[in-house]
Symmetry: C2
Subunit: 632 residues, 2 copies
């Protein structure tokens, strides 16, 4: 009953387009096989034999035909028709060249729940299937009429006890109903006919609606798919893991993107599952990000000069110039900002399409070779400048939006700057702003890539997802997802919006790709920082008086403190345990990116979500072009 290799598969329903387009995308992304979703075949002008030929050409196996609905427990003539229908589908499978079919538990209003009757139906079906060399897999739909739990499906398959009748396990159907994955241990691996995987955000809604619209890839949602797969691997099952995703957005996203992410998600979840049960894995473990060592901006000409002035006003000091390149280093506390004005190379190419922007970050890890190996296994491309293979002093990976992530071994950091940069005589009059480190990076991304970014960070570095937030922008809703390393040393927030124009998606609308939009810097004394910034003449974001009036009413703030916050444009939040969080924003550089200054107290772990709408509204005021009068 098993297929002898660990393979990745995908159901055609998971991808957009015609059947031909779906198959091509699956093959291009490296899948070993597909599940043919019946509706995709029915709508196609390709005959089953044409599809088989196309699969052969593409090097794809047809691993499953699905779904067969409403088979079991039917009385009288309905039962006869169900068997006739099964025979017709077995004929079709022969033409299609697949030996496996999914029967999902019945939702038919006339279906009877009597166990013995269902067992008889499948035993009789097993006989027919055996003559045709077909394996039937029975799957418990979460909303099945009588059978909606894989434990019940297994009890039936066990009682049927026929070599051609197995069970199909689907992570969504089991985990959405909170069925303990440990229950899978009762099932012998060779009775598992197929495994389907999907994740989903944790939403409290009708299971069918949730399933049909919100499923996503393992590593994009909140279900414990790795734990589910671990229990399946423990049974000895070594057949394919296959994606069956129904997602409104995936239906209109590029099939290539979803297929590539899908392949990555399966490798990721298999690896995570293997680690849980101490099985050998195909890639090194995720290396935690120990910190963000630098943020690199690309800018040339007057923009580079203006950027330098802007950094200086924010308390940064020019401390280094690259020995051979038009690259400068600005420093404050433990934070390094790089300005790359090179006329050639990556920064220049990025600038050509994205404009003045953050083009790269550098992250510290314990073992960059392990990160590179894991990235390769996950299909994440390393950056290698054309014609200069192996010449990279610092290896880098491509991020989802095309920016780079440089990798730096923690022990190298000391020598790194001295090796490449000449020290610059420091400005004696420079005033600092008491910045200590980078708190987090915030990226604004295309809505289509919102989930891709999450998968990227979670699969590569093992970042953990926090609860998603919806933030109100004057122009629409912004979806925000924070990801962070287990110890909080590295944090990134991903933001996307459906709105046609928001501050956050403004540059997306203008044809730019998504990228880092702001850098949040840690201070231990927000008011000292505010003082330094004022003394430097930094352009800061004004926060309306109404905000501070409400703040005073909401929190029992000391009057002097409250007044000072109002004067300095400091925003405040507090969690349920009374841990506080202070925030302050610079004005945006050409409305493209900006800096945040934050102070965390008593372990506050959030990002000031209640204040995000106020910040967006304030930024909106500096954007008179934002909302064309015609749309009001």
């Amino acid at each position: 009953m098993t297929i002898s290799q660990s393979l990745n598969a995908i159901a055609t329903v998971s991808l957009r387009g015609t059947l031909e387009e779906k198959l091509k995308a699956a093959a291009a992304a490296g899948f070993a096989g597909v599940e043919i979703f019946e509706n995709d075949l029915i709508g196609s002008a390709l005959s089953p034999r044409d599809v088989r030929a196309m699969l052969d050409d593409l090097g794809l196996a047809c691993m499953l035909y699905q779904p067969f609905r409403d088979f079991e427990g039917l009385p009288g003539d309905l039962r006869r028709r169900a068997f006739d229908r099964a025979r017709a589908k077995f004929d079709l499978m022969e033409e299609l060249g697949t030996d496996r079919i999914l029967f999902c538990s019945s939702c038919h209003p006339a279906a009877l729940g009597e166990r013995a009757r269902i067992v008889d139906d499948f035993r009789e079906l097993g006989g027919i299937a055996q003559e045709r060399g077909i394996i039937v897999g029975y799957e418990a739909l979460a909303w099945g009429r009588h059978v909606n739990d894989h434990r019940d499906a297994w009890a039936i398959v066990e009682a049927v006890d026929h070599p051609n009748i197995g069970i199909i396990l689907d992570s969504y159907h089991s985990l959405s109903r909170q069925i303990p994955s440990e229950s899978i241990r009762a099932i012998p691996g060779d009775k598992i006919a197929f495994v389907q995987l999907a994740d989903a955000p944790l939403l409290d809604m009708d299971l069918l609606y949730w399933s049909r619209h919100f499923r996503n890839l393992p590593g994009q949602g909140g279900l414990d798919v790795a734990g589910f797969v671990a229990e399946i691997l423990r049974t000895g099952y070594d057949g394919p893991l296959s994606l069956e995703i129904f997602n409104d957005r995936f239906r209109s996203n590029a099939a290539r993107l979803v297929a590539e992410d899908g392949h990555r998600s399966l490798d990721y979840v298999r690896d995570a599952a293997q680690r849980l049960i101490d099985q050998p894995t195909a890639m090194p473990a995720p290396q935690p990000v120990l910190g963000c060592e630098f943020v690199e901006f690309t800018a040339d000409g007057s923009d580079a000069a203006r950027l330098g002035s802007s950094f200086a006003s924010l308390g940064f000091t020019l401390v280094g110039e690259h020995r051979h390149k038009k690259v400068t280093r600005w420093r404050q506390g433990g934070v390094n900002l790089i300005v790359n004005a090179e006329p050639k190379g990556f920064a220049s190419a990025y600038r050509a399409t994205q404009g003045t922007s953050i083009c790269a970050i550098g992250v510290r890890v314990k073992d960059k070779a392990a990160v590179l190996a894991r990235a390769a296994a996950l299909g994440i491309k390393a950056y290698s400048p054309e014609g200069r293979p192996g010449r990279m002093a610092m290896p880098a990976l491509r991020g989802v939006g095309g920016s780079l992530i440089y990798l730096i071994d923690d022990h190298e950091v000391e020598g790194l700057w001295a090796r490449e940069f000449d020290a610059v005589e420091m400005d004696a009059d420079a005033i600092g702003a008491d910045v200590r480190s980078i708190d987090h990076l915030a990226a604004v991304v295309h809505n289509d890539e919102f989930l891709s970014w999450q998968l990227y960070w979670r699969s590569l570095f093992g970042l953990e997802a926090r609860a998603a937030q919806d933030v109100i922008d004057p122009s629409g809703l912004v979806h925000s997802q924070a990801l962070q390393s287990a110890d909080g040393a590295f944090r990134v927030t991903i933001n996307a919006s459906d709105a046609r124009e928001t501050l956050s998606s403004r540059f997306l609308d203008h044809g730019f790709g998504g990228g880092y939009q702001h850098v949040a810097l840690t201070t231990d004394d927000i008011f000292a920082t505010a003082k330094g910034l004022q003394d430097n003449g930094a352009a800061m974001l004004e926060i309306p008086a109404n905000y501070h009036a409400d703040l005073a009413a909401r929190f029992d703030l000391d009057e002097v403190l409250a007044a000072r916050m109002a004067d300095d444009g400091v925003l405040y939040d507090e969690d349920g345990e009374g841990a506080g969080f202070w925030q302050m924003y610079s004005r945006a550089f050409d409305k493209l990116f900006f800096f945040e200054f934050v102070q965390r107290a008593k372990g506050y772990g959030g990002y000031g979500a209640p204040n995000a709408g106020v910040r967006l509204a304030a930024q909106n005021r500096f954007r008179p072009d934002a909302i064309p009068a015609a749309t009001l």
Copy 2:
């Protein structure tokens, strides 16, 4: 406690933009007042006094300030702080110039549920409010910790028994929990401090998530808002009806559109409620549409000639030419198609922006004067050609997408055609296709206007909404909503898609507005129709063999019948009672619009939703330009 007029209001949260933009949109749409949503004020640079001045300038009353959260049932210091916060908000309300505030039931984890404590809190608050001349309205949030039912909120308000403490009723909070509206009869009208209205599609999900993302305007969802309002009016309440809508799409739609629809929705729901309790109303009752008398196409030059040939191939005969205009009439059974090739006037103007398309329909009603009066009361504009007031032989209304709806009194129909059209000698060789009447019209609309169209048809003509359908297009999900008159004599489906390109939204992407995309024609014998169409050489949509193979497996179809359906490209559906439905499609005219031929048996009431994906996939094959290779 009552405001003496029946007024329309809207909460600022319902509209997109800055506070200034929201207020301007509300004033422009004719609202008498607004609720100021706290977050909108907090994010605004306008002081409360500035807002008051702006409201005065715009002629808007500030009818409510909201929400005040987590007031009641708090112990010790938390209680003291809640009262301090209330006092601060009372100060703010004075500056803002409003005497009414919404207190929603507490969700605070420390809030105690003891009734006597809550009553004491509100009685003490009532004293403070009285000194300030403020009315506090208490609202039961559907997800309140202890109070989540307006019957409990009323029991508290009744026990408080203070002139400055009333109840606020919100249709969403009550109807989402299926609280019977009859329970409102227990509340005296003068204890109702304010009324908030929202509708919502019937979805089974967490109340908070449903509320925050899916609310819509009365007449756009599935809640019985009219029944709720009727019970409120029965109490003698004559204060404002106010919209409080949280909807992801409204947050990015033009505020003008949402405000205008909002105003219409309140007039509509008030009228419907008044009719339920036999109160006098401000407008005539909705007139049912008795049928679609004609569909008017705009086309000139070679397009007009090609359109005529196309009609002829579909069994239509040229039967009339307009006496004074370049307008022809084509007829088959009871169906009239008009081709308007005039170089001036509405059809020409519509053609200039929309291209060759359906520019108008004519509907039969019993009393067109009543329709016009109702339309005027609902803010639906009548069409009056420039410079020719009163010269319209046939009155018309503007549809949402800009096309026209001509109104024809049923008794006029006889003479109508003879009066304006010269009869044309019929083509002796013409072959008909046994078409009897128009089954339905299908419109493809911008997603932003999907709900607007529903409100339009429901409020103006009393069309009833059927269950919404999601249909899979190769490029994305299509949302489909059918509306029909009570007797089914007039049916229209509204379709919208998030996808960047689908057949249905193709012309939207090219800058065209939304409009009617196909006309479904009724036949009593689909095979006779197929024969006629074949004999005429009509270009019909080919349906893949896979579809018919599946159909034969799914339904117990007679083999001869099944083969004939396959030969003729006929699709089939059956409802749970075995009532059948046959469908067949013409190829699209320049891929812009097309015709469907349907046969209904035994009262089948649907539209063949299970086949829509097959039709879309088939049409997609005749659209080689549809999916750029880059997006695959």
